[in-house]
Symmetry: C2
Subunit: 317 residues, 2 copies
């Protein structure tokens, strides 16, 4: 987040760094100066205009009243308020106008949701998507910095033929993959990550009719999520038209070179603001010509989290 | 293959080990004895009943006439003859009767095709699948032993922060994934691996109407392929019924524990004969109730290759 604020030259007169008691007293570098990290308390928000939260749902819930009471606006990366009717869920390339309707909180969507939504929106606007099937290939970064470190350590142990006890990720992670480690709803049999992608996309698009099914899988990639998307439109749409629409779309970069077999890869998407899109083709299993298949990759930490939050803050300035 | 012949106690009186000139003179252990590897020539097949081929399409094409002339049957793991009209393409759990129709060659299907086909067949038989959408998560083993070694070396170099020049796999592979590295058809925009899955499944099932779309992706897993399958049936089918059918299906093991978040993983599928199936649920994006989503993992080297070939040989005995 600090890097995004720096890179985008965010107009701020003062930056307050707030964290739990455990981290208070540390310093963090911003614009060439070391700033002290203070303990987050209900009194932290006096004089604050925008409070960027990225400490999990319970912290967001605990401090939302204090943020509002101080007249600040919370931009919240957690899932705490995303589906609340009076909380806008904003992707600036898609629904920037929603940000203005806030009542003290603006929610930042789930990372795999944002990465799919950015390229889907301009297609939806032009040709209306009626159904989406998403299979994700999600990186360790989605489970936090500690999970990324654990993937590295588990992998080194596997290469050395040594045992390794994982503590963050509940399944063996070295050279392995597994269904996303969020709770599975025993009624629908979809997990929380999938449910977020399904519900949040409908809310961001303002389209309750859009039918979505997702399969979310964690793969042994460090950073950047990939997704195989099957997109059914209201009417036939050609791959050429999809490419033309996405070539002009904000936040999207076409990486689609069948002759060289070069398509979106998480390594290429890492540390990039844009969502990479490729493998754009007509789904041959739908003879009506209304279905397009494509593959996307986006930086989970940037557009999937910090960058989108800072872009929301920019809408407030 | 030797391990499969041993484990399954394949009834053979003599085993000839054949390879290229480069490997001739080596020995390989089988049933506790070291056997010499001889150079493969057109004269190798005198007195041979079954010739298991796994050396690539060009070798299979070159020696098929010699195998036939000697009165032997070729069981071919390459893609050389799979789509030939007079060559049976056999998965013993699905179409064992086809094996008997051979004219000297029986083809062993593509690995990701077999792994999806084994659990799909009993469902197709009972409720007829009309459409399949597959997103794969394929292991390094599909590109051979050298690719598995390269993944390990590239990953160690990445962990050590050292540069590494890949020679087998054309994209960075450490903590990365990429669209399957087979040639992309510039007309359909599907790659060869996807086209195999689509065409071979229809041939194995004997159903030219079955509509299939696949997205094949190589992930940094050493062994065992996984696939997210979206299966549209002719009529509504419940997850309970799918589970009941697959519980009795040969070559399938249900691993579907939503409460513990435990589902098929390539590490669990490795060195297992069965294809693991889980995440069986109704696809909520199809309100007709005719679509089921599920996730499978199967050993690419066993059921996806050697085991299936040995099972075909068993049909010939």
């Amino acid at each position: 987040m600090l890097k995004c604020l720096e890179t985008r030259n965010f107009p701020l007169s003062e930056l307050k760094l707030l964290a739990s008691k455990r981290s208070a007293g540390k310093t963090m570098r911003f614009r060439g100066k070391d700033g002290p990290v203070a303990e987050l308390t209900a009194e932290s928000f006096a004089g604050v205009d925008i409070a960027l939260f990225s400490a999990g749902g319970s912290v967001s819930r605990e401090f939302a009243p204090a943020v509002k009471a101080a007249g600040a606006v919370m931009v919240d990366n957690s899932s705490a308020f995303r589906m609340d009717a009076d909380v806008p869920l904003v992707v600036p390339e898609i629904n920037p106008g929603e940000a203005k309707k806030h009542k003290g909180i603006i929610a930042n969507p789930n990372c795999s949701t944002i990465i799919a939504a950015v390229p889907l929106w301009p297609l939806h606007r032009k040709h209306r998507i009626v159904r989406l099937i998403a299979s994700t290939y999600q990186a360790a970064s989605g489970a936090g910095w500690a999970a990324m470190e654990e993937l590295k350590q588990a992998t080194r142990a596997a290469l050395d033929g040594k045992p390794f006890q994982q503590e963050i990720i509940p399944h063996p992670y070295a050279f392995n993959l597994f269904s996303h480690n969020s709770k599975v709803d025993l009624a629908t049999l979809y997990n929380e990550e999938e449910t977020k992608l399904m519900k949040e996309t409908r809310k961001i698009f303002g389209d309750t009719e859009l039918r979505i099914s997702a399969t979310c899988v964690r793969v042994p990639v460090l950073r950047a999520h990939s997704e195989a998307l099957t997109i059914e439109f209201e009417r036939p749409v050609s791959p050429e038209e999809v490419t033309a629409i996405l070539s002009d779309a904000p936040g999207v970069k076409i990486v689609d070179d069948p002759a060289r077999n070069y398509f979106p890869m998480p390594l290429d998407a890492s540390e990039q603001d844009d969502v990479l899109v490729g493998r754009i083709r007509t789904d041959v299993s739908d003879p009506s010509g209304r279905t397009i298949a494509m593959f996307v990759a986006g930086d989970q930490l940037l557009k999937g989290a910090a960058l989108n939050a800072v872009q929301i803050a920019e809408l407030l300035v």
